[in-house]
Every structure is written in structure tokens, then in C-alpha cells.
């Protein structure tokens, strides 16, 4: 691909609307494209993606590829992969940005392998070295204890970006862009896996990812019961409830509560941790919180290195008194 150019974003469409990850990727892509003086295109796979296409232009895209085929209606790795590969072969992008979403976790590595190129996985920040058009990616490694700066040696250069690492741009309804229909042919016999059932285990109350306030509990809570105390506090504050992996592994709350490297990434205004030590793998999922509050009996716990406010002491006394005061304060 001698004359590769431009940035391709692999978009996501949720119920006909452009997904928030796409908007974040457009913000990242726009910045790079401006430095390179190249264009940003976005691939929207599925049918009825026109609305999302318009939103993509308003959020920073120059070109929207509506990649369509009936088989792309709902997500299937083999179809999405084949469709993306066709588009990439056709337009030869210099750079591909993908989101490290549930789907992107599979799609990005497999696309990279299928193209025979490298992938900068799980990036928090990308920039461009304009002297050689190299994409430099910052990515946490060792559970977030270290950061590596890597680049891809082949073209296209691909980066999978962690959701919420970028803020979407202000939408601008005056932006103009081009929409290109890109029908693909897909052989439906390529599907190697089949989903036979989907079971939802939603946490109760406010959705963790969208909550302005999140309260999370760890191993130090000692059992499942205290999570109902956390839920009480959360109900007063309109907050979501999360947990450390240790609490999930103990079976106190389902996996959908887990915050961290292998759980959810959240960026609330305020994150209140109760009896969580603050291991790097936990912080990987919440370090984007504006303010972290720690309640822990060990003054040496790592969590105090990331917290803005802390109380050193036993949660069994602290939590009821805290909840009571919060109730009084928020009543008037």
C-alpha cells in the first residue's frame, strides 16, 4: 500500500445513533488528521446507518462509508471482519482507529492479524510524528503500573483506543462531509460461531458507566450484605454501585459491577471507594474519575495515592455516619 493516506475510524451504531465511542475516536482522529493534513473517514457497518452518518459528520468526519449488507444487521465478528477488510483493501488508510469496546476487543486484533500488521492495543493517547507520519501510542502495561510508547512498523498503523480516553468534539451541524455507499458481498458460510442465548445480569439502579457518582466496595467489606448499605447510600445520591474484582470473585456481587482493567471503565465526577486497596488493575478502570474518595483502615493503602479526600478508619463506623450526614445534607 504505497500511497496509503487518511485516517479510518471504525464506528459503532447503537439503535440507529452514532455510539459515544465513535465520537471519541473522531476527536482523536481529527487531531491527527489536522496535523497530517489528511482526511478522517468513518466506517459504519449495518443497515439504516444514515442518521449515524450525519451525526458522524457533525462530530468530525470528512467521509462516511455506509458499509452495508443484510448480514451486518447485528454484530457478528466474522461478517464485520470480512466487511472491514474489504473496505480497508479498497481505500488504503494510513491509520485505523478502533475502540476497545466489547466488540473492538476481538475485531481490532483480528483485523490487524488478517492484514499482517501490528496493533497498538488499549491506548490512552495517540499522537503523530509528522516527520515520518508515525502514529505514537501511549498505552498502560503491567496493569497500569507502567506506560509504554509504541508505534506500528507496517501500514496501516492500527490503534485500539480505550473508551472514554477522549472527549468528543462539540457537534457542529454546519460541518460538511461526503457520504459514500459501500455495499459489500459476504458469503454467509464464513460464520464460524453462533450465539444461541443472551442472559442479562444488569446491576440494579443507576447504570455504572453513565453515573455521575459511583460508590464501590472491596474485599474489606467482608461479605455481600454491606453492598446493600452501599446501595442505600447510592439511592440517596442517585449513584451507581461498583466493586473490585476481589468482591466479585468472592461472589458478593455479579461481574457487571466490576470496575477495572478487566471490568468496566468509568469516569464519574466522584468515585467513592470503601475498603478497596487501590491496586493498579482496579485504578485502570477509574483513574479518569474527577475526584476519588477513599475510606480504608490502612493509611498506607495505595488508594490514598490517587484519592483527593480520604478517611482512615473502619468502614463499619464510617459508612453509617457518612450515609446519615449525606441524607441530612441532601434533604434541604
Amino acid at each position: 500500500m504505497a500511497d496509503a493516506a487518511g485516517i479510518l475510524i471504525v464506528g459503532d451504531v447503537i439503535d440507529g445513533q452514532l455510539g459515544s465511542t465513535s465520537k471519541e475516536l473522531l476527536a482523536a482522529g481529527r487531531q491527527i488528521a489536522n496535523n497530517l493534513n489528511e482526511s478522517v473517514s468513518i466506517a459504519l457497518l449495518g443497515s439504516s446507518t444514515e442518521t449515524a452518518g450525519t451525526q458522524a459528520i457533525e462530530s468530525g468526519a470528512d467521509i462516511v462509508y455506509l458499509v452495508n449488507n443484510p448480514a451486518l444487521e447485528s454484530y457478528h465478528i466474522d461478517f464485520h471482519l470480512a466487511a472491514l477488510k474489504s473496505l480497508v483493501d479498497e481505500i488504503s488508510p494510513r491509520i485505523i482507529l478502533m475502540g476497545r469496546t466489547a466488540e473492538g476487543r476481538e475485531l481490532a486484533p483480528r483485523l490487524a492479524f488478517r492484514l499482517g500488521v501490528g496493533l497498538a492495543q488499549d491506548c490512552l493517547e495517540v499522537s503523530i510524528d509528522t516527520s515520518n507520519q508515525t502514529l505514537l501510542a501511549n498505552r498502560p502495561v503491567y496493569g497500569g503500573s507502567a506506560v509504554a510508547v509504541v508505534s506500528c512498523e507496517q501500514t496501516p498503523q492500527i490503534a485500539a483506543i480505550r473508551p472514554k480516553a477522549y472527549e468528543p468534539l462539540e457537534t457542529d451541524s454546519n460541518r460538511s462531509g461526503e457520504t459514500v455507499s459501500f455495499p459489500v458481498e459476504l458469503d454467509t458460510s464464513i460464520a464460524k460461531t453462533k450465539v444461541t442465548n443472551v442472559v442479562k445480569e444488569e446491576s440494579e439502579g443507576v447504570k455504572l458507566e453513565d453515573a455521575r457518582i459511583v460508590i464501590a466496595g472491596g474485599r474489606g467489606l467482608g461479605g455481600p450484605e454491606p453492598f446493600s448499605d452501599l446501595q442505600n447510600l447510592a439511592d440517596i445520591l442517585g449513584a451507581g454501585v461498583g466493586a473490585s474484582r476481589a468482591a466479585v470473585d468472592s461472589g458478593w456481587v455479579p461481574y457487571s459491577y466490576q470496575v477495572g482493567l478487566t471490568g468496566k471503565t468509568i469516569t464519574p465526577e466522584i468515585y467513592i471507594t470503601v475498603a478497596i486497596s487501590g491496586a493498579s488493575q482496579h485504578m485502570a478502570g477509574c483513574s479518569g474519575s474527577k475526584v476519588i474518595v477513599a475510606i480504608n483502615k490502612d493509611s498506607e493503602a495505595n488508594i490514598f495515592k490517587d484519592a483527593k479526600y480520604g478517611v482512615v478508619g473502619d468502614w463499619e463506623t464510617i459508612l453509617p455516619a457518612f450515609t446519615e450526614t449525606v441524607r441530612e445534607l441532601t434533604q434541604d
Binding site: E106, V198, V311, L319
Partner: protein, 266 residues
């Protein structure tokens, strides 16, 4: 015919080591740990061994563990054998220093799998706790052209297929694929079994098969690096924590609530 199961397992630095022991050699761009902290089998790979052994508990199966790396702590890598795996294949070569290159690792492991005659089912960990890449298994599946199901919390096999409960952000999906297939598993699979005394004795007697890169027919193009490492550093944490101290714990709690109210956070 017994079911042939392959497990891919990596030796990693112990992720539970004290934070103070973790440091970086800036010139070599490598993480270093004191020699008093032994490496471990990647946690999720122990889950992979457990998943394989659960299948072996219920039907005739052989479990072969495969690992690649620049060097191995043999007693560490023998743990899957002492848990009950049948065979250990180590691909050891000084040229593998570039452990960050998943493409290279996947190339190597898939060649080893082919040399071993292939497997009905390959089980991997969801990610290695060094670079947290979560991509080698997807690469191996791509290179071998087999079905791939990631993030399993339960793995069952029928004579021709594998049925996996795959974790999704708010629950799980049941996903099926025909064999041969590759599956990655997560810690939700449950605590891996402990080695038994008998298992440990049996493992001591077992000799791993050791191959070098030249034992695997790899073409030059697949050995070209895919990634370049420019820098490796410990991120700065500049947060200063204000510790709220009252007369007692309950008082501190009240003061914390007042503080958060004052800062308009609640």
C-alpha cells in the same frame, strides 16, 4: 479417540508483587523485579488449564500445555503438569526477547500447534498480565483459521462442538462453534485446582519437550517486528490526598460528607 486439548500458557512477572519491587530499566526499556520474586504462570492461563482439566474429568482427553519465551523457570512452568496436564512443550529461544510482539508470538505458537498435529480445542487465558494485550489467542485463531470465542466463563464440549458462556459487559452469551476451535477464558471460570501431592510427583518425572525457533519452520517475513517500543516509564501520580480527621471515625465521616457538599460534589 481422546479429545486433544492444547493450552497456551505464558510465564509472567508476578502481578501481585509489592508495588515497591516494580521498577524499569530505562535503557533496556524493560520491567525489572528483584530475583527474590519468582515469576508465575499467568493467572488467566491457570484458569485455562482448569477449563481443560474439567473437560478431561468428564471424558477421555489429553491436555498439552505450550509456552514460548526467552527463558523459563522450569519449576514454575511445571505447575500445570502438577495440576493434571499431560504434556509440556516449551519453545525457548534467546531471539524471543521482543516479547511485546504479539504477531511474532502468535506465529510461533501456531507453528508449534501445527507441528504437534493440531488440537480439537485450544484454550488460552483472556490476557497476559504483563502487557495486558489480549491478542495472541485471536492471532493464533486467525493464523490457524479456526473459530474463536473469547472471554469464556464456562466451557463445555460435545463430540463436534464447543459451547461457551462468554462474558459480555452486562451478563453473558452462550456461543457455539464447531471443533476445532480456540477459546479464551477469564477468572470468572472459578478458582483453578491446587496441585495434589501425586500430581507434583508425576510432574517432577515428566520432561518437557523443548524446541527452539529453528525447530519450527518460520518464514522470514513473519519474523519482522510489527511494533516498535519507543519508551517505557512509570506514570506520575501527583494527587495529594487530604485526610479528613475528626474526633473519631464517625466524626470524620460527617466531616467528609460536609467537605464533599462544600465542594459541590454531592
Amino acid at each position: 479417540m481422546p479429545l486433544k486439548i492444547g493450552v497456551l500458557a505464558k510465564q509472567v512477572i508476578d502481578p501481585d508483587m509489592p508495588t515497591a519491587a516494580f521498577s524499569i530499566d530505562a535503557t533496556a526499556k524493560e520491567v525489572t523485579v528483584p530475583s527474590t520474586i519468582p515469576p508465575v504462570v499467568n493467572g488467566f492461563d491457570e484458569n485455562a488449564v482448569e477449563a481443560a482439566l474439567q473437560i478431561k474429568d468428564s471424558q477421555e482427553a489429553t491436555v498439552t500445555v505450550i509456552s514460548s519465551g526467552p527463558s523459563f523457570a522450569l519449576d514454575v512452568m511445571k505447575k500445570p503438569l502438577s495440576m493434571g496436564a499431560d504434556e509440556l512443550v516449551l519453545i525457548q529461544d534467546d531471539g524471543f526477547k521482543n516479547t511485546i510482539d504479539s504477531f511474532f508470538t502468535a506465529r510461533l505458537l501456531s507453528s508449534a500447534i501445527e507441528k504437534l498435529g493440531g488440537f480439537d480445542l485450544i484454550i488460552c487465558g483472556r490476557q497476559a498480565s504483563d502487557w495486558d494485550n489480549a491478542q495472541v489467542p485471536l492471532g493464533v485463531a486467525e493464523l490457524l483459521g479456526v473459530a474463536c470465542i473469547s472471554l469464556g466463563r464456562k466451557v463445555d464440549v460435545t463430540p463436534n462442538s464447543v459451547i461457551v458462556e462468554k462474558i459480555i459487559p452486562d451478563g453473558y452469551e452462550v456461543v457455539e462453534a464447531d471443533l476445532p476451535a480456540l477459546v479464551t477464558v477469564s477468572n470468572e471460570l472459578g478458582q483453578p485446582r491446587y496441585p495434589t501431592l501425586r500430581g507434583i510427583m508425576a510432574a517432577t518425572r515428566k520432561k518437557p519437550t523443548i524446541w527452539s525457533a529453528s525447530d519450527l519452520d518460520l518464514d522470514a517475513a513473519s519474523l519482522e517486528p510489527r511494533l516498535k517500543l519507543h519508551d517505557l516509564f512509570v506514570p506520575e501520580r501527583d494527587q495529594i490526598c487530604e485526610i479528613i480527621e475528626g474526633d473519631d471515625d464517625a466524626d470524620s465521616a460527617r466531616l467528609l460528607a460536609l467537605k464533599l457538599r462544600e465542594a459541590k460534589l454531592i
